[in-house]
Subunit: 252 residues, 4 copies
């Protein structure tokens, strides 16, 4: 009649996470390594931990206008606890917001399979992937951005994956698709969702956990916005997304 969990064993004065004693991890493991350990069931090596860390760092915030932030601020302005407003932000991470990571990971998985099985070249795989999406009348998730033409986060994440020796088919195919778009004269660069998708795919993360990395990453940003809303603004104000101005510190 019992049910099972393979995540954490709770005993008096002892906590075992996926087979690791939590006490020995405090002060030695990084939070990014814990994320990987909990979701994948194995403790990541140093380099994998660094790449997951970079992914988590890359998406901590993107200003006040993403819908998760606006939802969290709107709920926060009604006078509810911080965690209630945070829940509104978390549940916004859906098919169309963050979901690009999962979508793009599935695209990369299909393309990587085609590459392996049919021995096609990267440019061919890229052309075929674009053609298939076009035939279905769908946009390819992970390419193009309404603000950034060359997303600084993408550049850094790809560089890091390569320097750590962790870039595989995912990164290669993602870059090949971006190049194919460029050859066609389309401004559809690899965006941060696409870059994260490529890195997570190369780390062997299943696509259905793609959004999880994004939401873990974005949480501190949402907390900061909720706290700012509740300490700086009047309750029940009208929040007009287009009217926000940055008045914080400038980069040196």
């Amino acid at each position: 009649m019992s049910w099972k969990t393979a995540i954490t064993k709770v005993e008096p004065n002892k906590l075992t996470l996926r087979g690791y004693d939590l006490a020995t991890l405090i002060g030695t493991a990084s939070f990014a390594q814990m994320v990987y350990l909990l979701l994948m069931g194995e403790f990541p090596d140093e380099k994998t931990g660094q790449l997951v860390e970079a992914i988590l760092v890359s998406s901590v915030d993107h200003g006040a206008t993403p819908p998760s932030c606006l939802a969290a601020r709107t709920v926060a302005s009604c006078g509810v606890p911080l965690t209630t407003a945070l829940a509104a932000g978390v549940m916004s991470i859906g098919r169309y917001h963050g979901g690009a990571i999962e979508d793009c990971m599935k695209t990369l998985a299909r393309a990587a399979q085609a590459k392996r099985e049919k021995g096609k070249s990267l440019p061919d795989i890229a052309e075929q992937t674009i053609a298939e999406a076009k035939a279905k009348g769908r946009r390819l998730s992970g390419f193009g951005h309404r603000i950034h033409t060359q997303d600084p986060r993408t550049v850094k994440l790809l560089e890091l994956a390569k320097s750590l020796g962790l870039a595989g088919d995912g990164v290669a195919i993602a870059e090949a698709i971006a190049e194919a778009f460029q050859r066609k004269g389309k401004t559809l660069p690899l965006n941060v969702d696409g870059a994260i998708a490529a890195l997570l795919f190369d780390l062997g993360i299943p696509p259905e956990l793609g959004n999880a990395f994004f939401v873990i990453s974005r949480l501190p940003g949402l907390v900061a916005h909720i706290h700012e809303e509740q300490t700086r603004e009047k309750p029940m104000r009208v929040i007009t997304p287009g009217d926000v101005e940055y008045d914080g510190k400038e980069a040196p």
Copy 2:
């Protein structure tokens, strides 16, 4: 007519967080440092980053029975997206669950003020704090645990704070209170909420952000449980908290 945010400046191909260029942080800053940067507005030094990291690592999961986990699993079993179930877990972190951190931080703040202003000794401050709570008929948050008599997470967090030179009045008062309870013959050791409260207080974090650190820390655990529920169990099952058994890896 505009409203202001001091968190993130979004410009084409450039993201500035609290005055720092995000691109230069990817691959160099830790996620823990980003949490501190976003919530406190300043980039933490190496040691502060390490202590925040340890706090985030310490609470990533505590098995399947905390109410946030049960709420998340219950909602997950109804066939909703991962982020919806996650929201249920996040909103559970309230006054009675995680809230001990905020409560304990307020207690420590009052005690530290009394220590500064009245020049009382630590044992006196501790006795007075216990007496005040008793007079109000309230339990002191941060002390005692239904399972652990000496919480391994507490031990490690306090050791680390001291070795990093970051333990101040918060840690001293928390330990003095635990000792006072012991002198009275009460089994009310400093628990992990109390330890985190002491460390956050000594880092200068405002009490109303105490729960935020806990919820950021707990997110990967909640994700792992939701994913396990949705991949390992039947939908709409009856979840009996007392019937769960660990069948994962054992510590070596």
Copy 3:
């Protein structure tokens, strides 16, 4: 640059809902009629209003063990506002909980189309519907119940629909399927989800709004449970679904 809504016009001292002056509806229209008006865009006649009312009455509560109730109670026990706990209950109404209404409406829609286009008899349509589900390895939503063999709510809802002259293909096909199961010796009676699905289908409600009627109906039950939890139980208690006992009033 503007966006449009066709639901409610807000003017000083005047509110117009779907073309009706709200002031004239207060005291004359039923809440059930307002639900229909808002969701369907037209004011329902008396009989339609009565049937919607009966549907809303039928599902107000089903005790403490449905997952929406357990999720709401679990979150409520953490010390959050009533509406936060209510949100946890609402978000639980998903594919596997309440979703049977939507699923069953789609089944009835396909069967009704087959009936119209191919002129088949009700028993034939029923057999074919069961066969198709079996071929796909799927259970037919809306039939069978873990507790009730003849759900008293189903009986009453079908009787009312017939007496009001509002039972159409949906009810006929649903009953035919239940009879076909009976002929096969299977205990899969039409349950309340199936009955509501049949009635909503015959009222012309689109399937994607099926869950909405269920969640509107269930809200007062969820509120009652949250209020009971927060006034009768200790915070952070372990909620064991199988250990609940009714100690309220008995029916006369």
Copy 4:
């Protein structure tokens, strides 16, 4: 070891709600009566049912700009299930949104107690209530509206309560306060929150359930907006509250 509920008894083929057989209520009781039955534990008489019905009808929607609606639409635009977006709307009903009902009920309770115990006149009670709020630097919840100078819902609800013989101290004090404001030359008429508060107070509803009536009432409006958002608008759009225009039916 068992825990208790006094709300619903679930037996095979029989559901008893607060001592009433659900089957006999389907088709005879109104949804409003069920709300009262579940929350108050007793079946309301005809007139009480009518007044609760009017309260539920009065707040079904107030256009696209209340924060609960904007939160629900923002989350809906991210591609999540209807019930997830609905949860975002529900959790927005907090201290500053809907909370005016609870606040105003508490004010009326204090004033009614003063009236009973000290035998003061209504104008004196009103002046005193206003003076006490002013002394604390607080606005009186339930009075004043950013759009309506004479809220049509308020007028109708008060009329109905009086004609049903259900207006008591709550209505009398609320009207006296509005008159006192008028004598002072202030445009602070009784708004719909205040009117609902007065009626609920006179029905004997406890203040902490005030928000519950509001959220039950508002649910169909939230559903309508979420459905409109998901069927009429593009995903992930920027929702500017001030730019919404009504393009629905006009009142005849």
